[in-house]
Amino acid sequence: MKRQLAYFLVIFIGFLTLSGHFINYSPLNNFIDNDATQWFDIISGFAAFLGVVNLLQLHLNKISQKKDNWRYSIITLLGFLIMIFFGFIYNGSSVALGPHLKKEGSAFYWMFQNIYLPLGATMFALLAFFVASASYRAFKIRNFEATLLLISGVFLMIGRVPIGQLIPWWMSLEIYICLLFALIANRFKDKKKMLTLLTLSLLIFPILIFSLNLHDLALFKIPNLQEWIMDVPATAGSRAIMIGIALGTIAQSYRIITGREKSILGD
């Protein structure tokens, strides 16, 4: 009975919200445009209290049972309590509680500025190192797909920064030739033959292109190639993913509002 009530509500609210986009009844339109999501924010605001209770329980447990690293839990609790103290009890600035959160000079703002911000920004900046080691591992010419990943990633990396403009046409040509050989390397049985072929093409093609006066082609400027990759194949890929995600979301929403997706509220 209790379970049925919840499912009934999911179905009712789901269809109400959906139909609110079509039915000409201004209180309903207004509800879905503004209030529906506001209500959601308010309910999650109440849930935030539960989060706090859970956090306190977790760390107090750790401390009382002296689990591994329990000393650090004290730091977490202290940090939390200080923020709450500065947020609700001690102000320190000229304005009232509430607006004081964003007022320079309040204790809360000081904590925000000097503890919270640098920590967040540094965690974010840490990604620069991770992305380096990830790309070192990921960009390997393993198969055709991985090579495409590498080509578009690397061209983007050098094409987007000023240094990419300094690359002369013959260098980009040599890069293309090397990549082409990397792609077809598996087809060659005889490695020696491949190497000679590679050296020959590295020597001949630049001369050929230059004598045919084709070296001004946009193809040989990495920034232009990068822009093409971004505008054409990458756009196609993004669009396919976007449409796929839209379809997935719609189908999932449909399963939810018809009460078929049961694992979320229990079956």
Binding site: S44, N54, V131, D267
Partner: protein, 288 residues
């Protein structure tokens, strides 16, 4: 016969009602959207009904979904916990809801295998929902004695503080299987790289297209975009849910046909062969 009435006549009558109702009951300007909603719903319903009547449905195997049970099994063998990360968004993203439905199935597996499960959560309301989901999953498998209230716990709301916290859990408790299922942003790389460095089996799934590449490169299996939303239906295996996936595929065919149609008719219009602006068909914005 009843089938025709249900899936041809009723939608047709609904549209008739919508377009020819004499009073301004409906908003103007988004007619195309309405037609699409009706067609979409009835296509999906049709296939669900067909599946319920016992029609066999072929489902292409998805490696990541198959690997889920293996991963839980391996964690059990090694005596190490399973870590499930449901993303950093709140319930306002369908990704989070999808992530939680998958959690329901994964929790069912850990209940069956008696493996440890840990779900650190970023948003309190998601925590409460995840608790409910896990509890129900354990109950359903008849193992509610194994369910502990601290399986699902709150870390913090902030994106990077959460990443730091989960990072810490991975480094110090060394789970053998890690699931990333939900909405992820920049923190995905930190999480996936750390998981990779501790040698856990990692299975990711997300609809955040800019984060998929990091999961693809650092995780063993990844559910890409649409696959992620379909995963819960796959895992449940009920004909109802599989039927809806089949219906979704037919909607996709419809989309492809529409794309080609728009492309060709705009080309013909551009060459002056026909005089018809295809974009006028798309009435999708409410006129106020």
């Amino acid at each position: 016969m009843t089938q025709y009435i249900k899936y041809v006549l009723i939608p047709f009558l609904t549209l008739l009602f919508y377009f020819f109702f004499p009073f301004p009951l409906f908003l103007e300007g988004n007619e195309t959207t309405f037609v699409c909603v009706i067609i979409l719903c009835f296509i999906v319903e049709y296939f669900i009904e067909k599946a319920k009547n016992g029609d066999k449905i072929y489902m292409r195997p998805i490696a990541a979904i198959k690997a889920m049970e293996e991963a839980v099994g391996r964690a059990t063998e090694m005596g190490k916990p399973v870590l499930y990360v449901p993303g950093i968004s709140s319930l306002d993203q369908i990704d989070t809801i999808s992530g939680l439905t998958i959690l329901g199935h994964v929790a069912g597996m850990t209940a069956e295998y008696d493996a440890g499960l840990q779900v650190p959560v970023c948003v309190p309301i998601v925590m409460e929902t995840a608790k409910e989901t896990c509890k129900e999953a354990y109950l359903k498998k008849g193992r509610s004695d194994l369910y502990r209230n601290d399986m699902v716990h709150y870390v913090t709301d902030d994106q990077f503080a959460y990443a730091a916290g989960v990072n810490g859990i991975m480094l110090r408790e060394k789970p053998a299987a890690v699931f990333f299922q939900g909405k992820f942003y920049a923190e995905s790389l930190i999480l996936a790289e750390t998981g990779n460095s501790i040698g856990a089996i990692q299975i990711a799934g997300t609809g955040s297209s800019s984060q998929i590449p990091f999961f693809v490169t650092a995780c063993d299996y990844t559910l890409i975009g649409e696959e992620f939303y379909a995963a819960s239906a796959y895992l449940s295996g009920s004909p109802e849910m599989l039927g809806s996936i089949k219906g979704q595929d037919y909607v996709k065919v419809g989309c492809i046909i529409m794309i080609v149609f728009v492309f060709i008719s705009s080309a013909l219009n551009g060459y002056g062969i026909i005089n018809f602006d295809v974009s006028s068909l798309f009435r999708i914005n409410i006129i106020r």
